[in-house]
Amino acid sequence: MIFSIMVNEGPYTHQASDTAYHFAAAALAAGHEIYRVFFYHDGVNNGTRLTTPPQDDRNIVHRWSELAEKHGLDLVVCVAAAQRRGIVDDDEAKRNSKDADNIAPGFRISGLGQLIEAGIKSDRLMEFGD
């Protein structure tokens, strides 16, 4: 079965990103496919490489990057939501005249159409938020 996952809240503040991660890992372990993970609203804040969580806590951003690398996941950060919140890749930095970028490995910035497409192409679109 093909799943897609939507993450609507940033790391640490709400449990949404944690639950989504464990759901994704369990779905992959059960042999399901994950078509896409789409980060919307504050969920885009999962895609910054500048976090330094306490050493005795999980690293939410790294965990997504690693799961993506291991399973070839498509981690998409919504561009409109990202602009409002300051999540930027190299292209976006140039386009908006920013002097730095902060996107984490394995994440890419793209449009809302990617969410709709995920809804069309997947058997189930799972939403995790606040």
């Binding site: 609203h41 939501a81 809302l112 159409g113 709709i116 497409e117 809804g119 069309i120 679109l125 939403e127």
Partner: protein
């Protein structure tokens, strides 16, 4: 993409206090380009999104309520509003914006987009969907 799926966008949040209503509407407007079968539901505090006469000038926030009027042009013409939610909040259908669409199969007659439905009707409509997105 030849598949046509039924999308329902369920709105349960009031506008302005948080961005979910605004960013939810952005999804609906983008989604309309995909030629899917889509409708919206307004439940709980989501009904407040459709209240007429919004003026956010003094808060400095963007008044995005005019964008709901564009939905008809994008063929999003079924906006289900839960009757019980309106009543609990001291509202009636007269408090909502007039939202319309033009029916090309009926000589472009202008028709209302808002359909006030009961909780039970809405529950049944939800069961007919393929994809349920919540904002």
């Amino acid at each position: 993409m030849s598949e046509i799926k039924k999308f329902m966008y369920i709105n349960r949040r009031a506008p302005y206090g948080s961005i979910y209503a605004l960013e939810g509407l952005e999804v609906v407007l983008i989604g309309a380009a995909f030629d899917q079968d889509c409708c919206m539901a307004f439940v709980g505090d989501g009904v407040f999104q459709l209240v007429r006469g919004q003026d956010s000038t003094q808060t400095g926030m963007k008044n995005f309520s005019p964008a709901y009027k564009a939905l008809g042009d994008y063929d999003v013409n079924r906006l289900y509003v839960e009757r019980e939610s309106l009543a609990e909040r001291g509202l009636s259908e007269d408090d909502l914006m007039e939202l319309t669409w033009e029916d090309e199969d009926d000589d472009w007659a202008e028709k209302p987009s808002i359909r006030v439905v009961s909780r039970e009707e809405l529950a049944r409509l939800m069961e007919e969907q393929d994809v349920l997105l919540n904002f």
